[in-house]
Amino acid sequence: MHARADQRIRVTLTLNGRERSGYAEPRTQLCDFLRHELGATGTHVGCEHGVCGACTVRVDGRASRSCLMLAVQAEGRRLDTVESLAEEEGLSDLQQAFRRHHALQCGFCTAGILMSCEEFLDRVADPSEAQVRDMLSGHLCRCTGYTGMVQAVLDVARTRREATVPDSQQENNDV
C-alpha cells in the first residue's frame, strides 16, 4: 500500500486487551500515536532516539521502543502499556515492589522500565542481580540511582517463584 506523506491512515491495534483505532500519518511515531491519538499518556517520551527507554511498550509481548516504531507498523498488533499492569484489586506485585523499594521518584521513566521488567520476568524466572542490572541498563533514570529498581525486580522474581513452586516441593525445600 502506498500512502502520501500527509495522508492520514486508519490504524487498528489491540491496546491493553481492547481493540482501538485511530488515524496516523505514515511518519507518525508510535509513541505519539499512543499518547495523542489514543490518549494513553502513561507512556512517556524521553529522547526520541532510542536510548533512554522511557517510551518502552510491549509489542506482541516484546519490549520495544515506541519512539523507534511508526504507528502504521503497529497495525493489527497487540500493544501493552503501563496502563495494563494494575489489577482490579490494585497495584500489581511489580508495582507494589517499586513502591515498597522507593524505585521511583519523578516517575517519568517508570512506565517504560516497568514494561521491560515485566517482559524480563516473563523470560527469566530466577535472575541474578547482574542480569537485572544488565536489563535495566537499557533505561535511563536520573532520580533514583537504580538501587530500588534492582531490589524490586529481585524481590518480585523471588515471590513469583515461591508462588509457582508446588506444595510438596516447597516442603522438601524447607527440610
Binding site: 502513561g42 536520573r142 529498581m149
Partner: protein, 996 residues
Amino acid sequence: MNAFEPALREGQSGQIGRRQPRIEDDALLQGRGRYADDLAVAPGTLHAAVLRSPHAHARLVGLDASPALAMPGVHAVLTGEDVKRWARPFPVGVRQPMEHWCLAVDKVRYVGEPLAVVMAESRYLAEDALDAIRVDYQTLPVAVDTEAAIAADAPLLHEAVGSNVVSERHFRYGDPEQAFAEAEHRVALKVRVPRSSCTPMECYVVLAEYDPASASYDVLANFQGPYALHTVMARALKVPGNRFRLRTPPDSGGSFGIKQGVFPYVVMMGLAARKAGAPVKWVEDRLEHLQGASSATNRMTEIEAAVTRDGRVTALYWDQVDDCGAYLRAPEPATFYRMHGNLTGAYAIRHLVVRNRVALTNKTPTGLNRGFGGPQIYFALERLMQRIAVELDLDPLEVIRRNLVPSGSFPYRAAAGALLDSGDYPAAVEQGIHEGGLEELLAHRETARREGRLYGIGYTVAVEPSISNMGYITTAMTPEERRKAGPKNGAVSTATISVGPLGDVSAHVSSTPQGQGHRTVVAQVIAEVLGVPLESISVNVELDTGKDAWSIASGNYSSRFSGAVAGAVYQAAVKVRDRLAGIAAAQWQVEASRIRFAEGQVIVNDSELSMPFGRLAGATHWAPGTLPEDEPGGLRETAFWSPPQLEAPDDDDRINSSLCYGFIFDYCGVEVDRITGQVRLDRYVTLHDAGRLLNPDLVDGQVRGAFAQGLGAALMEEFTYGDDGSFQSGTFADYLVPTSVEVPEPLILHRETPSPFTPLGAKGVGEGNNMSTPVCIANAVADALGIADIELPLTPSKVRTLIGIEEPARPQGVGEDQTAPAAGGGSRLTASDSVTLPGSPQAVFDTLLDPETLQAIIPGCHALELTGENAYRADVTVGVGMIRARFDAQVALSDLDPPHGLRLSGAGTSAMGSAEGSAQIRLTEVEGGQTRLDYDYDAAVGGKVASVGGRMLQSASRMIIGQIFARLAQRMGGAAPRLSLWQRLKGLFAGRGGRS
C-alpha cells in the same frame, strides 16, 4: 523563634521521621501521572517549533519566514522583530550594556540559540516549516574556551561591554597577607570543572495563551522556580505581575535545577500565542534540551593555601572564573554567590582572599543544576586538601581532621559570613570511619597495591548549604551599589491548610516538587499535628500565581523543602490546631492546653471528653454562630515564614548565603584498570548530618540519586564543544549518563543534629552528593595514580592518558583515523585518495567544469544554478547516520590550472547545521590515454550534524566524496563531454581564476 518544642507535644503519632511510603506512587506507577505534556489543551491550540542557530557567533543579516508561512498548516511565525515590538530584554543581575532577548535580534551567540518560532497545526508540520525559513548569517570569530575568551584580543560577544568579563569582584576576609607571609608551606592547584547537566528525563513543556482583552498572559510550564524569576518574565513581557499568570502541572518529570531554564521559553511562547492569536503548546525535544536548555557553569580555579608544618590551613586564596555562556541569565552569577559564605567548606580557616570573574563565551547560557556552585567549590578545595597531604607527606584524613570546624563551636560564623547552624564535624568523621569500615578499605588498598594493581582511596568533607538567602546574589554588587539598590535578604516560604465542611484536610505548598515526594512529607507533618489519618489528607502542589500563596523564594531549589517548606506546613498546621483547640476548649469549658489531637479525635487529656475531628472542624462551616467571639468561622490558614538569620550582605561583604548547612563526610575506594583506563568504584561511603530527618526513605532516595549524578559527573558526563563552538553532545549516545550497571549502591550513614533555625529542625539533603562525590572519586583516582592534575570527567581514554603507558603500535593495515575534533571545527575531516579516469586530463578538466556534470556527480544534488564566476548555488541532500539534511550550498571551482588541476569547494547550511569543505584536485596523464585524479579534501561540519560522532562522519564523508569521483568516472566513460562551461566562459574570464 524556633517552634520545635510544640512538635514534640504532638509526637504521639510518630508521623514525622517515619519511613512512610509515598502517596505519589500509586498514580505514577499506573501511568496516571499528569505531566505537562499529558494535560488537555484548549481547542485550536497550535504546536510550536523553535528555529535555532547553527552558528556559535554570527550577525543576523536577514530572516525570511515567508516560505514557511506558505506551507500547509502553518499559522504564524514569531521572529526577533515581534519580540522587539512586544517585549523587553531580560533583567540581569549585573549592570552591563548587554541585552538578552527571548529570540535573537541582532546576533546569534551560541549554537542552538532560538531565532524564530513556527506555530502550526501539528508539531510535525511546525518542524517541517523550520527548514523553509531562510536566514542569512554573517559568521563572526568565536570565543569558546574560557581562558581564550577573557584574553585581551578575544572576539567580543557583547561589543558595548568592551570585554567578555562582565563581572569582577574582589573580597578579603581576615588578614590573608600576613597568614601567607607567615606560612611554612604554600600549596597551590589549578583546576577546571567542565559543563554538565543532570538532564531530567522530561524536557521543557510550555502551554501559553494570550488574552488581548485584558492584555494578559496565562502560561502553564514545567517551571521549578525560583519564583523571583516570575518578576523577570513579567518585566520581559512588559506586563504587571498580575497580568502574567504562571501555572505548573501536577507532576514533573524531574528537574534538578534545570527546569529553572524554561523561563525564556515561557516568555517566548507567551509572545508566540499573541502572534498566532491562539493557544500555543511547545514540547522541547532531547537534542534541543542537551544543546540549548541550560548547563552547570564550567569554572577555572586557581587556589592556594597557606599551611603550617602540621597541615593546618591558615589562609586561602581563590581566583575563580565562571563561564556563564553567551548571556548572563538570571539568577547568574549565582553559581559563585550561592556558595560564597561557605567558601571555607567544613574548615575553620579565618583568612581569605577571593577574586571572582564572570566570563561570557559562545556557549549555551548556564543556570541552576543540582549542587549549584558546590561541585565547583569542592572540586578545588578538596583536591587542594589532598594535595596538601601529598606535599607535606601527611595522611589526608589527618589534614582534614586538623582543619575541621571544632566540636562545640556552633553556630559558627565562617570567614566569608556563613553561619554554620549546627553539627559536630569531628564526631561525624569518626562515625563515618567506624561505621563505614575504613580500616578494611585501607587493608584492601594495601593488598591491591602489593599485587601491583592501581587502587586509591579518596576523602571529602563538605558542608551542604540549603535554603538560599534571596539576598546572596547582591554580593555580586559592591557595597555602594547595594546601598543604592536597597537591601535584599530572607527567603519566604508559604503553606496553606484548609479544612472543609466534612472535616477533610487539604494542603497547598508552593514548593513545586520535581519528584522528591513533597506531598507525602506534607501529609506526614499535618497528620502529626492534627492527628488525622495521613491517607485522608489531600495535598496539592500545583502552583498558580493567579490564586495561590507564593513569594519570590517559592519553588524547588536550594534544598529548601524539608527545612523551610515543611516548616511552614508545620506552622500552618499549628495555626489550624490552635484555632480548633480554642473552639473545643470553649465548648467543653476546659483549658486549651489540655486538648490533644490524635487518631481522628479531639481529646481532652485526663477526661472522658472527646469528639471526632471532623465534627469539631465542620462546626466552623455549619455553625459559626456557636463559636467563641474571636473565632471568625471557616478554616483555612496560610503560614508565611522567613528566617531572620538570612540577612543582607554586610559592608564587609560577609554573607550568610544559606540558612542551613548539613555536613557530609565521604570516602571511597577505586580501582583503575591499567589497560582500559576504566575507573571502577569499589566502595563508597557517604555520611550525612542533615538535621532532623522527616522521612528517612526519601532522604536515602535523595542521597542515592545525587550520588548517581555525582558519579556521572566524575566519570562520564561533559557537554563538549568544538573550537568553532559547535555542540558535540546532542544525544544520549553522545552525552553519556550512568545506567544501572555503572552505579553501585553506596553505604549511606546518618546522624541527626537538628537545626536550631528551622521549625522542625530539618535541613536540606538533596544536593550534597552532587557536591562531594565528583571530587571524592577524583581524590581516589589521584591517590591510585599518584598524580596532581585531574580533570573531570575521568573517562577511560582520559585516565589511560594519565596512566601514560605506551600504546602498542597500530596493527599493520589499519588506517589512521583522521577525525580531529579538537582542531578547528565541530568535526573536521581530512583525507586523500586517487582515482583513474578514462580520457585525457583536458577532457576530465572540461567535464568537471560542466554544470550538468557537476550536478550529476554531486550525490543528492537536486538543483544547481550558476550564480557567478565558476560559482553555483546548489540544493543538496546529505545523509549522515540518522540525520538527513538538505543543504542550501555555495559550490565554487577555483584555482583553475587547466588541465593540471583545480579546487572544488562548497559551503552550506541546513536545518541540521552547517558544512564546508574543499578538495584540491590534480590531474596527471597516465598510460593508455587515461588520467589519474588525485584529491586531498578537508571538510568540517557544525551545528546539529556535528553532534554525530566523528567516526560516523569520517566514513560518511569518505563515502560521499568517493561517490563524486566514481560518478565522474562513470560520466567520463560515457559520451564525449559537451562544450564545457569553462570553454564557453574562458574567453571572458581568461587568467582570472583565483579563489572564489
